[in-house]
Symmetry: C2
Subunit: 698 residues, 2 copies
Amino acid sequence: MGALSDLFGPERVAVVGATDREGSVGRAILTNLQADFDGDVVPINPNRDAVLGLDCYESVASAPPVDLAVVVVPPGIVVDAVREAGEEGVEDVVVITAGFSETGSEGADRERDLIEVAEEYDMNLVGPNSIGIMSTPNGLNATFGPENAEPGSISFMSQSGAFITAVLDWANDHDLGFKDVVSLGNEAVLDETDFIREWGDDPDTDVIIGYLEGIDHGREFIDTAREVAEDTPIVLVKSGRTEAGAQAASSHTGTIAGSEQAYEAGLDQSGVLRVNTVEEMFDYARMLSDQPTPERDDVAVITNAGGPGVMTTDAIGDSRLDLADFSDETLETYGEMLPDEGNIYNPVDVLGDAPAERFREALDIALDDRGVGAAVIVAAPTAVLDFEDLADIVAEARAEHDAPIVAALMGGESTEAAAKKLQDAGVPNYFDPARAIRSIGALSEYRDISERAHEPPREFDVDRGRAREILERVEGRNDNSLGVEAMELLDAYGVPTPEGAVVDSPGEAESVAEGIEGDVVMKIVSPDILHKSDIGGVKVGVETDDVYDAYEDLITRARNYQPDASIIGVQVQEMADLDAGTETIVGLNRDPQFGPMVLFGLGGIFVEVLEDTTVKIAPISEPEAREMIDDIQAAPLLRGARGRTPADLDAVVETLQRLSQLATDFPAILELDVNPLVAGPDGVQAIDLRLTVDNDEL
Amino acid sequence: MGALSDLFGPERVAVVGATDREGSVGRAILTNLQADFDGDVVPINPNRDAVLGLDCYESVASAPPVDLAVVVVPPGIVVDAVREAGEEGVEDVVVITAGFSETGSEGADRERDLIEVAEEYDMNLVGPNSIGIMSTPNGLNATFGPENAEPGSISFMSQSGAFITAVLDWANDHDLGFKDVVSLGNEAVLDETDFIREWGDDPDTDVIIGYLEGIDHGREFIDTAREVAEDTPIVLVKSGRTEAGAQAASSHTGTIAGSEQAYEAGLDQSGVLRVNTVEEMFDYARMLSDQPTPERDDVAVITNAGGPGVMTTDAIGDSRLDLADFSDETLETYGEMLPDEGNIYNPVDVLGDAPAERFREALDIALDDRGVGAAVIVAAPTAVLDFEDLADIVAEARAEHDAPIVAALMGGESTEAAAKKLQDAGVPNYFDPARAIRSIGALSEYRDISERAHEPPREFDVDRGRAREILERVEGRNDNSLGVEAMELLDAYGVPTPEGAVVDSPGEAESVAEGIEGDVVMKIVSPDILHKSDIGGVKVGVETDDVYDAYEDLITRARNYQPDASIIGVQVQEMADLDAGTETIVGLNRDPQFGPMVLFGLGGIFVEVLEDTTVKIAPISEPEAREMIDDIQAAPLLRGARGRTPADLDAVVETLQRLSQLATDFPAILELDVNPLVAGPDGVQAIDLRLTVDNDEL
């Protein structure tokens, strides 16, 4: 495929299916293209000589050479039209026509044919079922929507066409401009990842925003977005977050949704700024395109009113930001500058009689304090304050200082002219101070994202061959699962397990026990018996001399309990010192979109009652594994809260990485639970295991 | 005091300190009063004959009789001016002048004098340090602010004057009207509770809103607000929520803030709808004044666009509401009505080619379903949809159905005329569907508040005299605290404790042990030794024969550990069967604003690491005690999660109420912790106790 920049920067565009029929999509697109496009527009329609004053051609072949074909013919002839364009060397195609995979099996077949043709001719294909694309630098509006985008530096993609129409209608009314806009449609060929990659390379795109209901190739998305996000912020609404929403999204786009937990992890690992509302999407986008990231999270509040100052401070308390602590020098300067009743501590109260100049002085003092990373001006209307003067002054300060500044001029109509001035200076203004603070929070969050060090996952020296052998043991099982008898799998991947083995005769049991120092634990091993202790299938503290008898007793109990149970044998294991550590759970899982995931949590009530677990998409790096520990609420218990011995966190972190490698190496592992993994002061030990394997993937 | 309705409905108002000096507060108030007030305005100023064309009087005494005096004279003569008004029989006074308790000790003295005068003459006094009051029915604007309120049914109070100015500026631009407005100022006499009471009785006030930084008489506030909220919704911003915010509020208003946990509990028990932003405050107020509460929480979504439908569904998932499940009949009707590609399931997709009429039909079908409690119209701009037609149709539906309806017309300028029409019909319109859903959520929350059954706290038969005797034992202690030796206090209030006693001789220990069946637990009792087990100060499972020696051993250990420790004796107690129950913590605490509070949580890590506790202001009713259990995250453990024996929740609930009564009966108890209270399957038992007592309150 050629670069996507050609898709947005064509010189001649063919509208295949152009018509002048009133109310038709073909006419709407042609009209939109004629409006502002710098290049040529060529209608294609075998039944017309001219359309809307332009010469019309029978086919792409008979027309002058075009770079981009916009296809609006009926669904049944779309594939032929695209093929013809391919034959003529057209590399970029937008298929507007609906009636493909979104409509049922016939449509899905048609979409497969379309993909085949696009691949054959190596085409960049947008859609089908797209409302089109826009690119403001050359005035390209190849959509059938009622609105065109204003020029700007935000590039915007959406899986919902209606969302684009709604957003443009709104954005044009709010002075928000775009570079490129794309309605992704069914994403038969090009998807969100392709556009993120393209816009990451595009010097004219400052911020990427998008509305997505699903992500197709999770791992590719993470890798691409992560790289792009280092320089270009990506702000996304991923809807279908809630169970009901996911169901609605699935019936809307027909895709199988991945789990919200996977999306949350995947988007976080991608460095995407995830927002839930359109308002936040644009607040963030505007701020990220207009202002620098703060060097520190300490915010100065300059206000002429106590109450709004308190509300702003609350908003800072709710956010990732902090209320700045001024230096002694700053306090002294404020002391000299402000009237006696003013407050020199943050939030700085310049008082109700402050004219704009006093705000400016106070703002300069704050921003000269090295302990201040950003500032917010919060102003209530007073008799002496001219909002427009204040706006001029804030705009000047913004130009002179290298820190983010936002404003909350708290009024209605009286603030409008000032707000416009602020906007022109790239300073957002909100009635609500909380929204102003959130927009600084977005800059701070993006600073952390852009500074993230992406370490590659560590590669451990493991015994893959042995692991495969153990996984292959599942072939005889009818439930595709393995239990403790597969503990060697962990051994092969370097996860510590107690000494011992699963045996199928009393003699073997005895000889295993002889090799173990001290008493042993013995457990019945059977895929059919889940609650072993309930039937007396677990014996703790068995002396070596008693092992032979204990073996036979365990087998007898199992037989009595369930005569038809498949019994694999008995596990003979050294006694694990559970008191010496905290029980954790480490698991693997597989998401349809994002692939393998690693799960971590504390055992027992923490997982089952408090649902205090965290997941990340595998493979994970060491810093990511470390973050997983921070992510759980119960983390202080591992660190030694309440007089506990601190657990060996390095060993937990290493185990998470080793299992991440196992999940990546063997796509056949559908689910795996190490429960518990006991984390003691000098290492970890896996006590029990359960996994499910997909035979076909082995 | 007279009714506050006279404060807002005077016939003749005196401005004491009236002047025509440009830029003065006195002139501003007089000008505002002259603008729209239906009654007479009388300037009072000994140095003028006329002010702004009105005859000016030397004093209130020499003027025609007035109902309301607005005082703007310098702080030094405010008290005299108010006294003079009192002498003349003026019952209602607004003191605008600042320079009272907000400025230091001299001002505080002045404020005390002011209170005294107000009490002497039984006056309703607003302020001092207030920007004034407004009441739209008679055009009263006795403030010096730049804006007047538009008429409406919302009454508004604020502890921040600037907040009023800002909000009015904004509200007038957003067609939001008010009945009364009051700037509370320093609340020397009248406070938030007085106005809530007044507006609760006012037939012209539909919704009460307010901005508060503190609440002065917590219990009175709760009792008043609770009663008012049954019929009139109260929506409040209580700022100073965060630690930094509380600090800022305290330096702003000079009040000692209560704890946020107390405010949260108190506002919740009051039935206040607490919001964090101005936007929410007005979204809620508008909705509550214009629309009925929904009979059920199931919402129907009618949309012409898949993506926005999904976002709306997510917003419902985030809220207290549910996506409605349509009846078979409804689905059938939709099947007949909608084109084949439409979605008959909720969210209903009427498709991109839907004209307004199709929305109307779909809306009617949804609202005729008994399973639907409210509806939201979500519409993206399309070629065929006229937003104004849609607005007309939604307004009609609103008039015809008895369920709340909100709209999210997703566009900019193109939606303005329609939004205006909707607003006139009392239907809010937001670009963001999430905001629309939140406003239905407010109605649902208020429905629950208005339906709350307020049971009086149960009165238990307790031994108050004995409790007092035990509390008095603190008199000799230098740390004002008591420990296990005060366990009888719990006994006196009917909270089960293990059999046993604190003794101070080995012989007594033996005789107590003889009276107890089975072995006993013995613990050293000393206010100076906190970690008893660390020094071997606890003996478990002591046989009766060994009790004598054990006593002496415990005393020796304590003496060796800390020779100067004050040793009260040894507790001899029956063995509590801790395995049979779950350790909980029940505590009492005292908030400066709200008074006694009851705390509940699970013991150990739940309190110390997970901070999973809940509080309520005492006294609590039985339903409130029961709610406390529901409020903690770990509640499932008490109910029998993970194969545990369910705890006797009734016994826990009763204990919470008995301790609530103890806290209310004895204001001297500053803090009390029963830790643990073991909750077993057949009751509870308090195992350990610690309390702090205020000697002076005994």
